[in-house]
Structures are given as structure tokens and as C-alpha cells.
């Protein structure tokens, strides 16, 4: 753990010159993950490998457990009262649910962007970006450079560079979502989870975020939940199709290269879903 803290300081250089490149992305592997809310089982033995530096799209109808799955990956699931889970989640080979691992460390290494933009509304744009560093007590020298770099990566810098001190809540929805991406990137995560990040946004903002994903995917492993098939095709190189039969927990029906899932799926249900022939 100590090493991790030291590593991380590298992403926040002491000088105002160009910040060091973010740390390398990590692979994420879910092994036989099941989940419950109380006695209601919502995921059944889901296994999926999300390779380092790739973009994995999770698709499937509403209620099949995609959000639950993604929240298990960074230990947000356990915050829900009555929520339980089984299985393992390996981040670069280490189980994030291991005895020695702290949830806060895992969440710092695996960032998350939510469906509804949730910047801290009264904090300034700058403080929003720096919030993760403050919250995790990391070194905060070279702040200005980090703010600029993070906003650049999230594709928001040009729009807000002159009003970094206005509150985050005053931005448009699409800008707020990109601010949330910048906020997540600023702590230097190895993985970024995005749960339907564009579902509340207009087409232009959606485009901007897709471009952002394309750029950050070079140094962060991205896992994105989306209901938009075109989006999945545009941004991901891997795809997993989730499905929950009536009164049954969700499972992965099929996973593989995005091209294969869309052009030559092996399961007829996948074909039906990706071609929009699904209820």
C-alpha cells in the first residue's frame, strides 16, 4: 500500500511544468460474480475480463444488472444497505475484495462516472477537479497543471479555462459530465467505469464524451455501460451482453470482440438485441 501512495505522488509533479503522464492502465477481471439486494439475487456467476488499455462496453436491457456489476468492480455495491456479493474481482491480479485491501484504495484506483452528472455543485470547477486529491489526502503540489491536464483530457478545458472559479453546478449537463470525468481522471485511476455516462446528454455532448473516451483509453482501462448500440460500436473494442430472464438474475449471454458481437454473434438473443429486435 505504501508503494501505491508513493507511485501516485508521481502523477502530481512538484513543478508547474507538464505533469507526468498518468500511471499505466490495469486489467480488471471479474470471476464468478454474483450479487444480491437482500434476498433478491440480481447477478449470477458473471465472469468477464476487461483487458488493460481496452474499452469494454456492457450492453443489455434495463434491470439486467449492468449497474450492479459495474459497482461491484469498484466496491460501490457494498454501500447499499442489504447488498451482498460473491466471487472475485482482480485488479492486475489482486482481489479487490481481499482481506488486506481497503475499499478507499480500490475506489481511488478504479474511478467512476455516474449516469447523472454529479459534480459538487457549490465547489468551483477547479475544486471539483481537485476534490479527489483532497479527499484522499494526496500531495497537491502542481495543482494548476493537474487541473489543466485533467480538463484537457476530459475535453472541457477550452470551455472553462476562463471560469475555473465559478461553481461546478453552473455548467450545462454535458459540461458537468465532462467535469466529472476530469474529476475522476485527476486522481490518476488505472480503470475508469462509466455507467451510461451519456444517457442524460444531448448528441453533441455525447460526441464529445465519446471522443474523450477514445483519448483516455490510451492510458486508462475503460468500462462503459451503454444502451446505445452505435455508441458501443464506436467506442469499444470488447463487448459483453447482459440479460436477465424474467424473475431470474442477470447473466452474461455473450462476450467478445465488439465486431464479433455485432456482426457475428453466436447467441440468437445477442443478435436480436444488437439489432433492436428485443422487447
Amino acid at each position: 500500500m505504501t508503494f501505491r501512495t508513493l507511485d501516485r505522488a508521481d502523477t502530481v509533479p512538484g513543478s508547474r511544468s507538464a505533469p507526468a503522464p498518468p500511471r499505466a492502465s490495469a486489467s480488471l477481471e471479474a470471476q464468478s460474480v454474483s450479487a444480491w439486494f437482500g434476498s433478491h439475487k440480481v447477478l449470477e456467476r458473471v465472469s468477464l475480463t476487461m483487458s488493460a488499455g481496452g474499452v469494454t462496453a456492457l450492453i443489455g436491457p434495463s434491470g439486467c444488472g449492468k449497474s450492479t456489476f459495474i459497482r461491484i468492480l469498484n466496491r460501490m455495491h457494498e454501500l447499499v444497505p442489504g447488498a451482498m456479493l460473491a466471487g472475485r474481482v482482480l485488479l492486475d491480479g489482486d482481489d479487490v475484495y481481499g482481506d488486506q485491501v481497503q475499499a478507499t484504495d480500490t475506489r481511488r484506483r478504479i474511478g467512476m462516472v455516474f449516469q447523472k452528472p454529479n459534480p459538487f455543485p457549490t465547489m468551483t470547477i477547479r475544486d471539483n477537479v481537485l476534490a479527489g486529491l483532497k479527499l484522499t489526502g494526496q500531495a497537491t503540489s502542481g495543482r494548476d497543471a493537474l487541473v489543466e491536464q485533467s480538463l484537457q483530457r476530459a475535453g472541457l478545458w477550452n470551455e472553462v479555462r476562463n471560469r475555473l472559479d465559478s461553481p461546478g453546478g453552473a455548467l450545462s449537463g454535458g459540461q458537468q459530465q465532462r467535469l466529472c470525468i476530469a474529476r475522476a481522471l485527476a486522481v490518476g485511476p488505472e480503470v475508469l467505469l462509466m455507467d451510461e455516462p451519456c444517457s442524460a446528454l444531448d448528441p453533441t455532448s455525447t460526441r464529445r464524451i465519446e471522443e474523450t473516451i477514445g483519448e483516455i483509453a490510451r492510458d486508462v482501462t475503460v468500462v462503459i455501460v451503454t444502451h446505445n448500440m452505435q455508441q458501443a460500436q464506436r467506442v469499444s473494442d470488447q463487448c459483453a451482453f447482459f440479460l436477465a430472464a424474467e424473475d431470474e438474475p442477470g447473466r452474461i449471454v455473450e462476450a467478445g470482440a465488439t465486431a464479433q458481437i455485432f456482426d457475428a454473434p453466436t447467441d440468437p438473443r445477442t443478435a436480436d438485441y444488437v439489432h433492436g429486435r428485443f422487447g
Binding site: M76, P81, T104, R107, F120, A131, G132, A184
Partner: protein, 331 residues
């Protein structure tokens, strides 16, 4: 807001003039507005009547005392050459309330946060119920308890404080009596207002948007970090509101304080020393035996408390309205 309220930009050209929009309310809407306005107005009317009644009753005493009503410390309105003023009484009232607030507010914030953010779910329900129950205990019980049991222990604390920190003017004590003091009364009033303050703060903290809390936690924040970054800023209105409610009750507290303190009519800073005073307690104690000037003087004293409470409340609602939780602003 009618469109005519807008600042009409200079140099409006041609037909580019803001519409004045006619508001066409439905009958139900109109009836509701009328009822709401009437009940709102009746509150103000009642408050106004109280103020008028007090002012009228207080007038004779105020005329006798003049401006010295605010500066005198003794209270002998019915004596032959009686002089009286509210300085000492109001001073000690405020001191008791401040001590109570100083102790109760941090404790209330901590309790509210513990119940909401740290306690396991079942304990949370039990504690919430307990706090509401404590809030319902009559202040008389607190006063009796403070006088019969807690007073001695608190006097011990006061003795220790004055022996070890007596160089601080507030902790200085002349003589050797530590009971029936401002400090003891302040502590008991703190315990008395703690439940209601906790309850108000807890309810407001509970309104913190889950999305923002999760946003902080997802960045790797500890629970305390999340509380500091999200819950406390959001709950500012609740903290202030709860504190003001507590302050209001502390300023107006009568019976508990009357049971604890022994009256003194000087203004000094020695809160640990025996003797204190309080508007409510004094009115309760003197009302029965008061002559006509005495009665008028007590009403004037009541009017002063009324004014102080009003000012405090206006100040509070001003601050609360500017905070997110108070204004109910949802991004």
C-alpha cells in the same frame, strides 16, 4: 414575476418589447392563495399583538427608567426610590445560552452525523427514536435533575477548571462557591437543547443527495472525507437552523434555570462562580410578588427578550436562506 418587472434594455428597437404576461389563475388556485396568505398574515398579526401588548404594559416602567433601563444591573422596581435595569439579567441570560450552544452545537452535529452516517441501520432507527423521545422531556425534569444530581458533579468540574485555568478571566472565581452558577445552568440547558438540535440537523443531513455522496466515495474518500466535502456543506442550513432553534429555547428557558441558579445582579465574566441570572427565571420568580411598577418592569424585560429572539431569528433565517439545504436548491 410580471414581465414589466424586467429592466427594459436601453435602445429597444421597433416592436421588440417584452410582453406583459397576464397571470390567469384558476379559482382553486386563487382560493389556495387566499388561504395561504390569510394564515401567513394571521401569524404576523398575532406576533404584532403580542409586541403591542408587551410594549403597552412596559411603557410605565420604561418611562421611569429611561435609557438607564438598558445599563442598570440592579432590579428593585418596587422599592421606594427603586432603580432597575436589564443589563445583568440579559447579560447572564445570553451567557447561559452561549455556554449551552458552545457545548450543544458540536455535540449535536457529531450525534447527527453518527446517527446518519456511521451507525448501523437498526441502531440508526433506535437512536432516531431515542433522540425524539429526549426532545419531548419537559425542561422541568432537566432542571430537577441538574439541581439534585448533576449540580455537584458540575461544581467539581468548575472547581477543577478554575484551579487549573483560573488565569482565564472566564474561569476565575472569587470565593469558594461553584454551584448554582452560569456554567452549571449552561451545561444543563445544553443537554436540554441537544436533542432538538440533533433532530433538526439529522433531518437536514439526511436530505444530502445520494449522488453527491457517492461521487465523493467513488473518488476514494473515507466516510469522514465524504461528510466534510458533501454532507456538512449541504447541511449548513440545518446546522444553523438547529443551532438557532436551540438558541431560542436556551434564551427563553425558564424553569430549569430558575431551579439551578441563585440570582446575582452584577455584570462580570466569572461564569464558574455561584450566581447567575436569566430573563425567564426572573420573571417567573418575581411575577407573583410584583407591584404595579414591578409588573411593568417585568413586561419590559419580556419585551427585551422578545426583541432579542426576533433579531436572532431574522439573522438565522437570512443565513439559512443563503445555504443550499435551507433554500432547497437542487442542482
Amino acid at each position: 414575476m410580471a414581465a414589466t418587472d424586467f429592466d427594459v434594455p436601453v435602445g429597444l428597437s421597433g416592436d421588440d418589447i417584452p410582453l406583459s404576461v397576464a397571470v390567469n389563475r384558476s379559482p382553486a388556485d386563487r382560493r389556495f392563495r387566499l388561504a395561504a396568505r390569510a394564515s401567513g398574515a394571521s401569524t404576523l398579526v398575532v406576533m404584532g399583538l403580542v409586541a403591542v401588548f408587551l410594549a403597552k404594559g412596559a411603557w410605565p416602567a420604561l418611562r421611569i427608567a429611561g435609557a438607564r433601563f438598558f445599563t442598570r444591573t440592579e432590579w428593585n422596581p418596587d422599592a421606594a426610590n427603586g432603580s432597575f435595569g436589564i443589563a445583568a439579567i440579559v447579560w447572564w441570560t445570553v451567557m447561559i445560552a452561549l455556554i449551552a450552544l458552545l457545548l450543544a452545537v458540536p455535540l449535536a452535529v457529531a450525534s447527527a452525523l453518527f446517527i446518519n452516517e456511521y451507525a448501523p441501520r437498526r441502531l440508526r432507527r433506535a437512536l432516531t427514536a431515542l433522540v425524539d423521545l429526549l426532545a419531548a422531556i419537559p425542561s422541568l425534569i432537566y432542571g430537577l435533575w441538574g439541581r439534585a444530581f448533576a449540580g455537584d458533579a458540575l461544581a467539581g468540574v468548575a472547581r477543577w477548571l478554575s484551579r487549573n485555568a483560573g488565569f482565564v478571566p472566564m474561569f476565575d472565581v472569587r470565593g469558594d462557591a461553584y454551584d448554582s452558577s452560569t456554567f452549571v445552568a449552561g451545561v444543563i440547558v445544553a443537554l436540554m437543547v441537544l436533542p432538538i438540535a440533533t433532530s433538526v440537523m439529522r433531518e437536514v443531513f439526511a436530505q444530502t443527495p445520494v449522488a453527491e455522496k457517492e461521487g465523493a466515495l467513488a473518488l476514494g474518500a473515507t466516510r469522514w472525507g465524504m461528510v466534510r466535502a458533501v454532507v456538512l456543506p449541504f447541511g449548513r442550513g440545518g446546522i444553523i437552523g438547529g443551532s438557532m432553534l436551540a438558541l431560542g429555547r436556551a434564551l427563553g428557558e425558564t424553569i430549569a434555570i430558575a431551579l439551578i441558579i441563585s440570582p446575582k445582579y452584577v455584570v462580570d465574566a466569572r461564569v464558574l462562580e455561584r450566581g447567575s441570572n436569566s430573563v425567564g427565571a426572573l420573571i417567573a420568580l418575581k411575577f407573583g410578588e410584583a407591584g404595579s411598577t414591578g409588573l411593568s418592569a417585568l413586561l419590559a424585560l419580556g419585551l427585551a427578550l422578545f426583541a432579542i429572539t426576533l433579531v436572532v431569528n431574522f439573522a438565522a433565517s437570512f443565513v439559512v436562506a443563503r445555504s443550499r439545504s435551507g433554500a432547497g436548491v437542487e442542482a
